[in-house]
Amino acid sequence: MGKNHNRRVIRFLEILPGALSWCIIAFFVALAIFKPVYCAVLIIVFDFYWIIRTIYLTTLLVMANRQLAKQRSRNWLGSCQKIEGWNGIYHVIIFPVYKEGLDILRPSLEALKGTHYPLEKMIVVMAFEERYKPAAEYAQSIDKEFRGEFFDLLTVFHPDHIPGEKRLKGANATWAAKRSKEYLRSKGIALDRVIISCFDADTCVDKEYFGCLVYHFLTAPKPHQASYQPVPVYNNNIWYAPAFARLIETSASFCQMIESMRLEKFVTFSSHSMSFKTLVDIGYWPVDMISDDSVVYWKAFLHFNGDYRVVPLYTTVSMDAAYSSNFFKTLWVQYKQKRRWAWGVENFPFLVSRFFENPRIPLVIKARRSFQLLESHVTWAVWAFIIGIMGPLPMLLGGRFFAQSAIGHNLPRITGLLFNFTVFASLVWIILSWTILPPRPKGVSWFRNVIMVAEWLIVPVVILVLGSTPALDAQTRLMLGRYMEFSATEKTRKVV
């Protein structure tokens, strides 16, 4: 395949998700005007599908929550100790840092120190960006405070302007992983006995995280052909975050929990762990793609010809909820973060173009994974529009004849039924949200508990504002070739 031809194929694949999403939306609008009855039928079919899907996914959430409740309190280290060779496993823990200050970094390292796992098996790598001048000072402070706590603490500085790289987290993490590899070689530690964990700078691990990780690593059938994905929660500052942000972050945690039950679709997200050897074999994280956390999975998937999976760890890693100083800034911060997540649509052209080059992966798997990826992103970009905006459209644009028809009369009733089911699902989500909430800090009023429940009333607003628009925005940018730049999410922490 020629280079130009390959480029054209990739452009086509970049255009495809956005074009599909826009075509679906335009199709619905056109139908609402010219064939309102057909439009109403499609909306009813979609709404019914969405009700069934919501019930099904809520069931998965309940199951995942049950697993989390069961496993997070287990003594994983004790379980590891019963397995021969557990003591030979080392951990490289990379924290890619950009502008995060000591107020963010210190709790992350304190959480590591507090884990129920031997610290002498941990090599902590603080990966700073050389271009950020205060980083050197942060590195010194961290080094001074935490040296001697772990097997070793490395502070590395990722140089700017390395050819082929973009200013992304993946580039920084890759640089740190390469330095770690050199370090491991110098210490004579075999790479296949090392698990690498790449954590966001604000990640505070659960104290059983490493025990749980090692147990699953040692008991997995092909431990090097798996990534290990904990449940991301946004608890660090959850009691101080505004209701709007809290709701979105809790929903994001729930989505990840649901995904953990759908193993055939499960892809790494945010902070996760994997075999260091595998990471080296697949050529580290991508250095020019924003969604490095999921692309690294696809790289491994392609490397092992489809025989690669994600093992869910029912233990939590806690991060900061993204919020800012006022409502509109918070909305913007959340929008940008969700758009960055939705930029994961760049995985589609990446994956499909490489499927063409890999004849060893069965066609069925290629078709299924491609479809799953495309469907999930397109659905993300259109579902809130169909439910929130398209629903009343046939009534508004369909004219008098449609309004006098039985389907025109019944459409609002059926869409209303959908809303009631959403409320029912929200009730389950409210109850479950309490199970992943950390204890209320001192100084926080009990009234916050009431707000925590009441905030779920704004779900319809959140769905309308942040349900599909960030995904549609990201897909449109990819479609038009306006590639996104990485921008670190603004994090605010009132209490350290």
């Binding site: 697993q67 039985a406 059926i414």
Partner: protein
Amino acid sequence: MSVDQKIRAFFYYVSVAVFLIGLPFILAFSFSYKFDRRSFKFTKTGIISIRTQPPGALVALDKQVLPDKTPMSVPELLPGRYSVTLELEGYYPYISEVDVDAGRVARLEKVILFPLRPDIQQMNRERISFFWRDETKSSLFYVNRDENVVYRSDLEGNRFEQVCSFTPIRPQPKKWEVSPDRTRLFYFNSRQVGIVTLPQGRKNRDAGSVVILNFPSDVINDVFWYADSYHIILICSRRILICEAREDASLVTLVNLAKRNASGFYDAHSDSLYFMDAQEAPDGNVYDNLYRLEMRNRMYPFSLPVLLL
């Protein structure tokens, strides 16, 4: 496969089954198809949608009372004519025949139920002979002919007060009208026009004064206030006049009419007078026409600013 994955697979297939089985029923419901369990067939039906003002009325369909109250819809009705009775305690019942077509909605959504004992309120607080509503539609004026008194209130009957006394004229006045600046009131019969100056606080020293203008040689059909509230326009049987609303005012004949007892009106907004008159056409016949007289041009010398008057 783990237990969780088996449970999940079970739920997945149940969800797919529910979707596939439920969807035809949902779509059938949407199109108002009724499923007959005996014949195992779908029959297309219609809907009656009922809304009343006030809501909460009992609905009887072909004399059979339904459990729900308005607003409500009656689905799954076989096509045909139905008798709908709406009843609400304290209101007149509403009875109507409604045709129901398959797949369509028959709407009874503009039904107003009128109360059996309407809430009637007496507006006047003194004895009155008749009333009229002010041009601005914000006041009611009342006249007591026996005592020759004019009262005023707002549209709710509040702020009821005596406005002025007037000098009676015979025969009884045809019409009463307050001037646009609300400082004066005229009333007239076929020969006389009475002008009453209305009280405006302490500033108006002439308040309560009455002027009677006599027009012995004319038959007055209608009178209008001119836009400046100082002149009146009189539409008489043979001519249209304008004069100042004061004693000994000089008359200006605006139009001599060929047609007797022609109608007309004055529009203060455009400052124009519209009137009917007859005119002989080139064919020798006489036709009635509507004419417009632009007062701004003709009456310029009289259009003094209000402040100077």
